[in-house]
């Protein structure tokens, strides 16, 4: 048998092997749920939170009906997030509790970690530092080695430290979060803002301003009005500490204009 024949046979075998790959078969219902989910994502990106909530609900309903655990977890978390933005804190709590306390279905630890982080954030928002710490610890427990929300948990902990006026700890955690969120602009900006707050607490306005400038650039690129406003308010504090009353006033004026739009 010649070399050319051998090569031909080998190529044929490779092609046959390629034919043998089995693609995952998904039901029409599952595809429908995926479609609703994707439409919800697009609505969320446009800032149409109510529409996004409706679409996530529809996706969740289908996922519950076909008992798609992954889909249930994803859409419950998304729904909780949207409702939090809509100011429906109680509903957000119920959704997260439903996911975290579900004994019948088994969700992926990554999803449970995300739910726990959201719980921690809710507690923090209500100035419940102890509760926030508890849920942050739970989140860390579910967060395994390759956890994508490790940086978020650090940010939550930094936030808890700030509420406790522990500037050093907040700075340490936020810097760790910065390192962890090198490729995640959203969380990187959060970490920068937290670090800046810690610097301000430590009376280091120059350093705070540098951090805030970077955070502002990221938040503007992401188009997040509430965070831009927060960056400007913190910048105003820094300018005040530096004795630049006029610049501080300008930053507050800019923040006020953004607040007037009532966009989040």
């Amino acid at each position: 048998m010649g070399a050319r024949s051998t090569v031909s046979i080998l190529c044929s075998l490779v092609l046959l092997a390629a034919c043998g790959t089995v693609d995952e078969v998904r039901s029409a219902r599952q595809e429908q749920a995926t479609e609703f989910n994707q439409r919800g994502q697009r609505a969320f990106q446009r800032g149409e939170y109510q529409a996004a909530a409706t679409l996530y609900e529809q996706a969740l309903q289908i996922d519950v009906a076909i008992e798609n655990e992954n889909g249930i977890a994803i859409n419950t978390l998304n729904l909780a997030r949207v409702n939090q933005l809509l100011g429906k804190t109680a509903l957000t709590q119920r959704l997260l509790d439903h996911l975290l306390e579900d004994k019948a279905l088994h969700y992926a630890p990554a999803h449970l970690a995300e739910a726990a982080v959201q719980k921690a954030l809710l507690r923090l928002q209500e100035n419940d530092a102890a509760g926030a710490t508890l849920w942050a610890d739970k989140a860390a427990a579910w967060c395994e080695s390759d956890c994508r929300i490790a940086g978020v948990i650090d940010n939550v902990r930094a936030g808890i430290a700030l509420r406790a006026n522990d500037a050093d700890k907040a700075l340490q955690l936020s810097e760790r979060a910065l390192a962890a969120n090198r490729d995640v602009p959203l969380e990187r900006a959060n970490a920068l803002r937290l670090a800046a707050s810690a610097r301000l607490l430590k009376n280091e306005p120059d350093a705070a301003l540098r951090l805030l400038e970077e955070a502002l650039v990221i938040d503007k690129s992401l188009g997040l009005p509430e965070k831009i406003r927060q960056d400007l308010l913190l910048s105003a504090q820094a300018h005040e500490k530096l004795g630049r009353a006029e610049q501080a006033a300008q930053c507050r004026d800019r923040a006020a204009r953004i607040a007037a739009t009532a966009l989040k």
Binding site: A18, C19, T21, D23, E24, R26, A33, T34, E35, N37, Q38, Q41, F44, A59, D63, N70, G71, A73, I74, N75, L77, N78, R81, V82, H111, E114, V117, Q118, L121, L124, Q125, N127, I149, G151, V152, I153, N155, V156, G159, A177, V184, L186, E187, N190, R193, S197, E226, K227, Q230
Partner: protein
């Protein structure tokens, strides 16, 4: 060995040339025959003549018609020593018995812009029929220019009369009076205008508008009528088409639906095929990125 072959080829070429020449001569003869037939060389005919003061409007080959049928043609036009024109006409023998010696030849135009023909005006049936070298009386029919000339000749005296009447003193006086009356009327109108400029303007404008309307309305009505007709026609067509296709629409929709489904299935199949499945990643449900931001409490 080569020479006999060469001679043979020469013979063949000679035969072919002969055939070609014979063919060409045959074609030429055929053409000549056709020309001869066209020129009535094969039909028996009788030559007759007529004389005319001039050859205007006459030409060789011109058709000769009798009660609308072509019965011959002009064969020759010659000027005689006395400066008259002799025209020889060839008549088919088939029709000669219908034309009497007292028939007339008349030059006429078949229509306003048509060709001129020589028309034979039948004479009395009792008179002996024309024979070879018979001479017919000729007259020219009235062409357009003649008609115009006649009309002009008739109008000439009428125009002269009008000129005479209008140049008379009575008419001049009447026109003068009319002019004066017109001036007075204009003055009155001006006074009226000064009294109520606005009203006048309005009236003038209204008048102008009414005149415009007067002119426009009939046109608009006409157009509207046509448009309504078109709309009615289109509606009728649509109604007819709808009625005709009413039974087909549901099946059409079903077929279209089936076609779309087939298309989706085909596309799905293509996407899932091992060659392309790496290009089309199946969409999956995605979770929103977790946001670790907490709005600070307001002091």
């Amino acid at each position: 060995m080569k020479l006999p072959n060469y001679n043979q080829r020469l013979l063949t070429i000679e035969k072919r040339t002969q055939r070609f020449m014979l063919g060409a001569v045959g074609v030429m003869l055929l053409v000549l025959l056709m020309i001869a037939a066209k020129q009535d060389y094969f039909s028996r005919s009788t030559a007759i003549y007529f004389f005319t003061p001039n050859a205007q409007g006459l030409s060789k080959g011109m058709a000769v018609k009798f009660v609308g049928f072509k019965v011959g043609s002009v064969q020759e036009i010659n000027m005689e020593p006395n400066a008259t024109v002799r025209v020889r006409v060839s008549l088919d023998d088939e029709y000669v018995h219908l034309i009497g010696q007292d028939a007339k030849a008349r030059l006429v135009k078949e229509s306003l812009v048509g060709e001129s023909v020589v028309e034979i005006i039948p004479g009395s049936q009792q008179v002996k029929q024309v024979t070879q070298n018979s001479v017919l009386e000729f007259e020219r029919g009235q062409d357009t220019s003649t008609v115009v000339e006649n009309l002009a000749a008739q109008l000439q005296p009428i125009l002269s009369d009008i000129h005479q009447i209008t140049s008379s003193g009575d008419i001049q006086q009447t026109l003068k009076n009319l002019n004066q009356a017109s001036g007075n009327f204009r003055e009155t109108v001006n006074q009226f205008t000064q009294v109520g400029v606005n009203s006048n303007k309005a009236v003038t404008s209204l008048n102008s508008s009414l005149e415009t309307l007067d002119k426009a309305v009939p046109k608009l009505m006409d157009k509207a009528d046509k448009t309504l007709d078109n709309v009615q026609s289109a509606t009728t067509d649509i109604k007819k088409i709808t009625n005709d296709s009413a039974g087909e629409i549901p099946s059409l929709v079903r077929n279209a639906n089936a076609l779309v489904q087939d298309g989706q299935e085909t596309l799905g199949g293509v996407k899932r095929s091992w060659l392309l499945n790496s290009l089309f990643t199946a969409p999956e449900e995605q979770s929103l990125p977790v946001d670790g931001y907490v709005a600070p409490t307001q002091p």
